[in-house]
Amino acid sequence: LTETIDVGLNLLDHQLLDSEGRRCGKVDDIALEGAPGEGLEVVAILCGPGVWRRRAGLIGRVAAWLGGGGRVRIPWDDVDEVGSHVKLRKRAQELGLGRGDDRLRPYIEKIPGSEH
């Protein structure tokens, strides 16, 4: 992925889908790199409640605290496609995404009827 995109409109806050199409978070922030005078390059997607602090002042800090403050960095090389959603090359587990769902799943599975 080397094209130029409007990161504010077409990347930030978009849905992340893992390599199996699972919804596994949002693009909460992005890491940019670039020397003065050169163009900026997206090097990673940042994801998780720990990132919200920077984005929404006081309510962001409250939300980050409620969410547990975790954060995940996804290197840009693991991004497969930026379209309507942001598709990743790896599975959510490998990237450390969607852990909340994974942690709850064993409990939900114990309830009869959770399969249909």
């Binding site: 409109l9 978009h14 919804r23 949002k26 309510i59 969607g98 769902d101 709850l104 309830i111 959770s114």
Partner: protein
């Protein structure tokens, strides 16, 4: 066969249009102002048609539900404010609907109210857990069609049709314009309740609508909501014909069902109550899921009612927690009808936070390609943005001035 399926969907939409907010505000408006406010219902129904069509189109073309679009378009911070207010309003609405379910069950069975709250909670949980979603929607939608008995009642009560006709022409003939304005805001808030579009757009994404479904979307929103609106007219006409000038305030859901008993007898009462029970239960399930949809979409969790619970654990836990919270509030003994008024008025306040981002996304070529708003959708869309901004600003002052519609 396809036409048959579409017709079934539309029938369910008609039965599912009316919720406790519409019931309370339409009948109370009729009891207080006769047929004078019918024109406001027309405006509300056109509003929900315009915006549900827009949300459905965004879902079909971009695969994004309301809170995906809200966050992408207005960013994390403003989106979070929109989310929190939407969730508060949604929880209020859910609580009011569940209270309504318990009241209907009480009127039908005579058992103690608090037991029935627990039974209602258990029944809703089991239905949502066990029954396939398309059946839930149809079951409650078709059951809600029993409320058509109010349309029959409206005719049987022989209202003065001239006065009914005049009600569709905007005018104000009253000594209490503030109360009139309060009811107007309430009727608009009830008709355009935001949970309807959260639910509708999320359903579109789940059913994997694509551009080929745009015709179906237009049909669903125009005919489903349009005919559903007829039920609102019937409720207001019944309220006006039966209660106006009698000093009866329909403060109880039972009073509303009385509107079908007076002209049609026991069978009318029974159909009215059963219809209200189904409509309000269906609305409780819609609001329950809307709350879970909004949170999951904002945070990027896996979501969906067609996914089995193990496919979307946090979504599942969210709706369950919302249900428990709502049941707790109803158990505390608050009056569901009073709660309904607060829910409707606060949803009027939150309307712009939902509809402005949707309007922006529906005009955005990067999302919508050639399916952006046409001139009609844009003209109506802008008119309604002005309308909902006005009602959002005036809702709380009017509520305070009229002491929540008491004088």
């Amino acid at each position: 066969m396809k036409i048959f399926k579409v017709a079934l969907g539309i029938l369910a939409a008609i039965g599912g249009f009316v919720d406790i907010g519409d019931l309370v505000f339409n009948v109370a408006a009729g009891a207080t102002f006769g047929y004078q406010l019918l024109w406001v219902v027309v405006i509300g129904v056109i509003g929900i048609i315009v915006y549900s069509e827009m949300c459905g189109r965004v879902a079909a073309v971009s695969g994004k539900a309301v809170f995906d679009a809200v966050r992408e378009r207005v960013g994390f911070k403003a989106g979070l404010v929109a989310l929190v207010s939407a969730q508060v309003v949604n929880l209020l609405t859910l609580t009011a609907e569940i209270g309504g379910v318990a009241i209907c069950l009480q009127l039908l069975s005579g058992l103690p109210y608090r037991w029935l709250i627990v039974i209602a909670g258990l029944a809703l949980t089991i239905v949502v857990w066990v029954v396939a979603f398309e059946w839930i929607e149809r079951f409650f939608g078709y059951g809600g069609l029993c409320m058509l008995v109010f349309a029959v009642a409206a005719v049987k009560l022989h209202p003065s049709w001239g006065a009914v006709g005049q009600g569709f022409v905007p005018h104000m003939d009253t000594e209490s314009p503030v109360l009139y304005a309060y009811f107007a805001v309430g009727l608009l808030g009830a008709a355009m309740t935001p949970y309807e579009v959260y639910f509708y757009s999320s359903g579109g994404v789940e059913e994997r609508w694509g551009p080929k479904d745009l015709g179906l979307n237009r049909l669903n929103s125009m005919i489903g909501y349009g005919l559903g609106g007829l039920l609102s007219f019937a409720l207001m006409i019944v309220g006006g014909a039966l209660f106006l000038g009698e000093g009866i305030e329909p403060e109880f859901l039972g009073t509303i069902a009385l509107g079908a008993e007076v002209p049609l007898g026991q069978i009318g009462l029974l159909l009215g109550l059963v219809g209200i029970l189904f409509a309000v239960s269906g609305a409780a399930i819609d609001t329950l899921f809307s709350g879970a949809y909004n949170l999951a979409q904002f945070l990027g969790w896996e979501w969906g009612r067609y996914r089995h619970p193990r496919g979307a654990p946090r979504f599942t836990v969210t709706w369950f927690v919302l249900l428990v919270l709502a049941l707790g509030v109803v158990m505390s003994g608050v009056d569901p009808v009073r709660l309904t008024e607060y829910a409707v008025i606060f949803s009027a306040v939150a309307l712009p936070l939902t509809y402005i981002p949707i309007f922006l996304v529906a005009n955005d070529r990067t999302y919508m390609r050639e399916h952006t708003n046409g001139p009609i959708a844009n003209a109506l869309g802008i008119v309604y943005l002005v309308v909902i901004t006005l009602i959002a600003l005036s809702a709380v002052p009017l509520m305070i001035l009229t002491n929540v519609g008491q004088n």
